[in-house]
């Protein structure tokens, strides 16, 4: 559906996108992952024909973005980072305007506006001014606008940025539900978002693709093994950390137990187990049987920084990326 070859965008002083190549099959949801300033938006803008590439080619649905931009634009729905809304319009009016802009005509247009209002859950604000809408609604109107002409390809630039957790979940579910009909590219700098919504991931950093893989592969590549954080406390007074550690090490499937910290009577350990071994139940049982309290047991989250560290294998470059990613979130 989308083929990108050696795509490059150079500005006067810096190169935003540096010879990237990838291919996306029809019907896939692909996550574009990278810290801010990695070149995600620039790549998306070239795919949507907003700006021409300096060199290289990109074809969308078989049409080149430079040779036949009109054909590409007809087949693309685009949601920029800030939804392109006219605050003085009403929601329905706005969607009609965008539909007309994309070439829809009267009977079809009305049907599509009804459909996208229903699909993106904005039907109840159809007659409201966009300037009066909440952030979550605006984002959904933005999505509705992107799918109004039923495009083959949907390009979403950080669709969940700035939303509250409930809205983030709603938006993710909406995007997932759209996957059947459209090929979707979404950009993000949040790793769990990719894990939850996408099938395929393209990781870019400093304008270069550093990994293209399926989500499952990426996880195992980055993780190698499963790791669990566990917090144990004693009923009466303090416990001997070493005793707990040795007990935990006896649980089958556990590779390594690392003592993290001790706060009063609470002991925190990080436990690594072999890939595919479900040790959490056994760990819990072992602790309870020993007469201790299990305060907390959770899989330790892999952060974007760590993924970069492991994928790029450049520890000295990592702190900078981590700072950039943190500053953005």
């Amino acid at each position: 559906m989308i083929t990108v070859k050696e795509l490059t965008k150079r500005y006067a002083r810096n190169t935003a996108v540096d010879h990237i190549s990838f291919e996306i099959q029809k019907g896939q949801i692909v996550g574009f992952l990278g810290p801010n300033g990695a070149g995600k938006t620039t790549t998306m803008r070239m795919l949507t024909c907003f700006m021409p590439p300096t060199s290289g080619t990109a074809t969308v649905a078989g049409f080149d973005v430079l040779e036949e931009p009109m054909e590409v634009k007809k087949r693309i729905g685009y949601l920029p980072e800030t939804p392109p809304l006219y605050p003085e319009m009403r929601t329905g009016e706005y969607l009609e305007f965008v539909g007309r802009l994309k070439g829809l005509r009267k009977p079809e247009l009305e049907k599509r506006v009804d459909y996208v209002c229903e699909r993106c859950a904005v039907a109840d604000v159809r007659d409201k001014l966009i300037s009066k809408l909440s952030k979550g609604y605006r984002q959904r109107v933005g999505l509705a606008q992107a799918i109004i002409h039923n495009p083959d390809v949907l390009i979403l630039d950080e669709p969940t940025a700035g939303l509250d957790p409930k809205q983030i979940n709603e938006t993710r579910d909406l995007i997932k539900s759209l996957a059947g009909d459209h090929t979707i590219i979404l950009s993000t700098h949040i790793l769990p978002e990719v894990e939850q919504t996408c099938e395929q991931v393209i990781i870019i950093n400093k304008g270069k693709v550093i990994a293209t893989d399926s989500v499952n592969n990426l996880q195992s590549r980055a993780r190698g093994a499963e790791s669990v954080l566990i917090e144990v406390a004693g009923r009466n007074g303090s416990l001997d950390s070493a005793a707990i550690q040795s007990r935990l090490e006896k649980v089958s499937g556990v590779n390594k137990v690392v003592f993290k910290e001790k706060k009063e009577s609470r002991n925190v350990f990080e436990i690594e187990s072999g890939k595919g071994r479900l040790v959490r139940g056994d760990l819990a049982r072992a602790i309870v049987e020993a007469g201790w309290d299990l305060n907390e047991l959770r899989p330790s989250a892999m952060s974007l920084e760590e993924v970069f560290l492991q994928l790029t294998g450049q520890p000295e470059a990592a702190p900078k990326e981590a700072a950039a990613a943190k500053g953005a979130s």
Partner: protein, 255 residues
């Protein structure tokens, strides 16, 4: 053509859902009304005076009311044009909606033409409002309507040229105030250039004076349709639209 109409409708709508259009219409009507009243009052005064003296000066409504009125409207227009054009592209750039337009299957030329026509339509609306005053002139006097029509055509052409220039300036910035102030400065300059021709007769002076938009409105106000002046305005319109198109294109390469 269909795309031009889509943009035209959207632009006109946004003029009329905000107070901008109503404010401009009201202010224009009041100022024009004042000029009309003032000039007509002077006309009545001079004709009474000439009657009392017994001297029969030839009095002509076209020459003594319509002509000065229309030249004045041309100048008032200079002050209104920045307010019409400043938001055209600056607002789209600021709010990011330019990305929607630029990624839709519609040509830059269609966007520009739609916006320019919408601005011109609003200006034509302002002029239409002034027709109310002329209803009275035709009821109580008998002016010739042809010079009046030509005068209005001249005003529309002049506005078209300045609107195209204002639209171009609006593509250069995200800030409406900057776009408006710059357009106002340019409009003012294009007006005062005419003054050079008043005292200086060298070639450079006549060239400067020729560049002024006010120089060319004179013949229209007199009721003369001079091809030289029509060509001047049409050229300016094309230049403004051409520069707007180039500016939009360069925006894509830079942004």
């Amino acid at each position: 053509m269909r795309n031009v109409l889509i943009i035209w409708r959207k632009e006109l709508r946004s003029y009329f859902v905000s107070p901008v259009a109503y404010l401009l219409l009201a202010m224009f009507a009041v100022i024009f009304g004042f000029f009309f009243w003032n000039i007509l009052g002077y006309f009545v005064f001079t004709s009474m005076e000439s009657q009392m003296r017994g001297e029969m000066f030839p009095m002509n409504v076209n020459e003594q009311v319509i002509r000065p009125l229309l030249s004045n409207v041309g100048v008032i227009g200079l002050f209104f044009i920045p307010m019409i054009t400043m938001r055209l592209f600056a607002e789209e750039k600021r709010s990011g909606t330019i990305e929607l337009l630029a990624t839709s299957p519609i040509r830059d030329g269609e966007i520009i033409l739609g916006k320019w026509l919408a601005a011109l339509t609003l200006y034509a609306g302002l002029l239409l409002l002034t027709a109310l005053n002329f209803v009275f002139l035709f009821k109580y006097g008998s002016p010739d309507w042809k010079p009046l029509a030509i005068g209005y055509l001249g005003l529309l052409l002049q506005a078209g040229a300045l609107l195209a220039i204002g639209m171009f300036i609006s593509t250069l910035t995200k800030n409406q105030i900057i776009a408006g102030a710059t357009t106002f400065g340019v409009c003012l300059l294009l007006w005062v250039l005419e003054w050079v021709g008043g005292y200086e007769t060298a070639t450079w002076a006549s060239v400067l004076s020729y560049m002024s938009v006010v120089t060319h409105i004179g013949s229209f106000s007199k009721g003369l349709l001079d091809s030289k002046d029509v060509v001047y305005y049409v050229t300016l319109i094309f230049l403004g639209i051409f520069f707007t198109a180039r500016s939009l294109e360069s925006l894509r390469w830079r942004s």
